[in-house]
């Protein structure tokens, strides 16, 4: 297990290093930073002094180490556009993104797993057909289309729910559902397949031959084993969630970090983009690490084998 985790840890570090290099190069390749930072028409001496002051006269790899050091000490710079501290721009928007995302995740897991499990245990029911239909749609309908559909239905046609902003608890319902429903469908569909696969395994027959009741077989022998592959899929689903949140924030005009990220692309505000990319990537890498850890907890073969 230690070997497994330290290998994963190393990979996470390599990934982050790669992201940092990409982020750094994105800014550097976007043009001579000097020109974006300072007004034109400076004297030769002032320009030289400023270059020296901002370390722009150092070789590129030394600049990269300096940049790394800054990133690690929490100095993320200011927006090239509004001159606000980058950290602050994101920190203000973080609560909205986290609230919507984590609510969606909780709903998706707590509905997706039981729906998938039940539809595998009670085969051939109407619910099974319906689930597969929904799952099918979940894959084909992108978040921005789904969200607009929900706005049309609940916001304008039924006039039940507010369609933009996050000013009251009701405001959370549509964005959270937009993120959660495709995930519920995805998790349920995968869970169902994993359960069906597990049910056919010889150890389930062994359990049945012990004279155990179906409830106990399902809980102790089928569910636990079906959860093992589900854990890896959760990682993918969460990455999809992060992707989706960018769109959901646009559709519902939410004050989240996704909007900062997108407008930084439009404005070519590279310091803001840089932090956004590093932060998002860091989150994804972190989630993957947690998933790996979970995997070692749930599957003894990884735990002991290493």
């Amino acid at each position: 297990m230690l070997r497994f985790m330290s290998w994963r840890f190393l990979r996470a570090q390599v990934t982050m290093l790669f992201v940092l290099v990409v982020a750094f190069l994105t800014v550097r390749l976007s043009g001579e930073p000097f020109d974006t930072m300072f007004p034109e028409g400076l004297t030769q001496e002032t320009a030289q002094a400023l270059r020296h002051r901002w370390n722009l006269d150092l070789p590129i790899w030394e600049q990269f180490t300096l940049y790394l050091g800054k990133m690690l000490t929490g100095d993320f710079g200011r927006s090239l556009f509004t001159h606000e501290p980058v950290w602050q721009m994101y920190a203000e928007r973080m609560p909205a993104t986290l609230a919507v995302g984590s609510l969606a995740l909780i709903i998706a897991i707590s509905l997706g797993i039981p729906i998938g499990a039940l539809s595998a245990l009670r085969r051939g029911a109407v619910t099974e057909r319906m689930l597969m239909g929904v799952a099918f749609l979940g894959y084909a309908v992108p978040h921005f289309v789904f969200g607009i559909g929900l706005i049309l239905l609940f916001g304008y046609y039924l006039r039940l729910l507010p369609a933009s902003g996050l000013s009251s608890p009701q405001h959370y319902i549509l964005p959270v559902l937009t993120l959660a429903i495709p995930m519920v469908a995805g998790i349920a569909r995968f869970m169902r397949a994993a359960m069906l696969d597990t049910i056919g395994q010889p150890y389930v027959m062994t359990a049945a031959s012990k004279g155990l009741g179906n409830g106990r077989i399902a809980r102790r022998h089928v569910l636990r084993n079906a959860m093992v592959p589900l854990v890896t899929v959760l990682g993918l689903e969460i990455a999809g969630l992060i992707n989706g949140s960018v769109f959901v924030e646009a559709v519902f005009s939410l004050p989240g970090v996704g909007r900062v990220l997108v407008s930084s692309v439009e404005n070519r505000d590279f310091t803001v983009l840089q932090f956004g990319v590093v932060a998002y990537a860091g989150l994804v890498v972190l989630i993957n690490l947690v998933i790996d850890l979970l995997y070692t907890l749930i599957d003894p073969r990884v735990r002991v084998g290493g």
């Binding site: 085969r123 051939g124 010889p202 062994t206 359990a207 012990k210 155990l212 077989i217 002991v304």
Partner: protein, 327 residues
């Protein structure tokens, strides 16, 4: 059939089993009669595909995994101590599986739950058999059982997960799983086929030991006639879903009556050379002619063989399903 035998424990009568398949119903068992007495070991032999496993699974009615609507139709009679099991309600069947009839299957290597500790899996069986048993007592019994089946470090084994054990050890665990229930009947379906040849003999010896100590009856399923003589009292030979010959081990091995049995025995390395050898393969169960299923491969086939063969008794209690048995 069991005239001279002691009290009959398990009695199967006219058992038929068919699976619904895309090409129509597949008759896998065609009128099986079989008796097993207390303390008796009956070996069920026959080529692969003859329906041995199907018979074993039918007895405990586990023809498809739980939660799967099986496509199996079972009819006839299976009596345990005179109690009919075919029509028994589900809860009664569960109790029978938990207490009376244990089964060890041929999937030794994948028959244990990979995410559950060995001790817990055995304790679970103990508690299913005796709901009054406390968790602590069940754990202790499980550990003792692991010692009894010859695992070198039973305390460690109880804490282990299946992948930490070797194939032979896993099959010992499977036997522990069955034996801890102190069943009246054990159905052992090719319990050693998945194992290395080197450990097969030791697991078989353990099985024979367990049987002798507990006095349980056993249906020992194998396609390897070579091990039958060491472990079984009686033999039943299966062919295409029928039992075509039964008798004591000594009787069947020295004087096989059915040409198919004779063929099987002649394939043994120590068989007398003059016996005729088997040619060809098992028939297609979808297209069985009404007569003897073995006729196409039989050297003694005659006109009569295109009619369903009669069950003929022989001195010494043997029976053969044949128009012209060997003498």
């Amino acid at each position: 059939m069991s005239g001279s035998m002691p009290e009959t424990l398990l009695s199967v009568r006219d058992l038929t089993l068919s699976f619904a398949t895309r090409m129509g119903p597949l008759k896998v068992l065609r009128g099986i009669d079989l008796d097993i007495a207390a303390n008796e070991v009956v070996a069920l032999v026959g080529e692969s595909g003859s329906g041995k496993s199907a018979l074993g699974k039918s007895i405990v009615q586990l023809l498809s995994p739980p939660f799967v609507d099986g496509r199996a139709t079972l009819s006839g009679s299976i009596r345990l101590h005179g109690e009919e099991l075919i029509t028994a309600p589900a809860h009664r069947l569960r109790a029978v599986r938990a207490r009376d009839i244990a089964m060890v299957s041929q999937d030794a290597l994948s028959g244990l739950n990979p995410v559950m500790r060995i001790g817990a899996q055995i304790a679970e069986a103990a508690q299913a058999a005796d709901p009054a048993l406390s968790a602590a007592a069940a754990r202790r019994d499980a550990r003792d059982m692991l010692a009894a089946v010859g695992l070198p470090d039973p305390d460690k084994a109880a804490r282990d997960y299946p992948h930490q054990l070797s194939g032979g050890q896993r099959q010992r665990v499977m036997l522990a799983l069955a034996a801890i229930r102190q069943p009246q009947v054990l159905i052992a379906d090719e319990p050693t086929t998945a194992l290395d040849v080197s450990v097969q003999a030791r697991v078989l010896a353990l099985l024979a030991d367990l049987q002798r100590q507990s006095g349980m009856a056993m249906l020992f399923i194998t396609h390897d006639l070579g091990v039958v003589a060491n472990i079984a009292h009686r033999v039943a030979v299966m062919y295409a879903g029928q039992i075509i010959e039964t008798g004591t081990v000594a009787e069947v091995f020295t004087r096989p009556r059915h040409p198919y049995s004779a063929g099987l025995i002649s394939a043994l390395p120590e068989a007398p050379a003059h016996h005729p050898r088997l040619a060809g393969g098992p028939p297609d169960l979808h297209n069985l002619a009404p007569g003897c299923a073995f006729m196409p491969r039989c050297r003694h086939a005659a006109m009569a063989c295109s009619q369903p063969p009669p069950l003929k008794p022989f001195p010494g209690g043997a029976h053969a399903l044949c128009w012209s048995p060997l003498s």
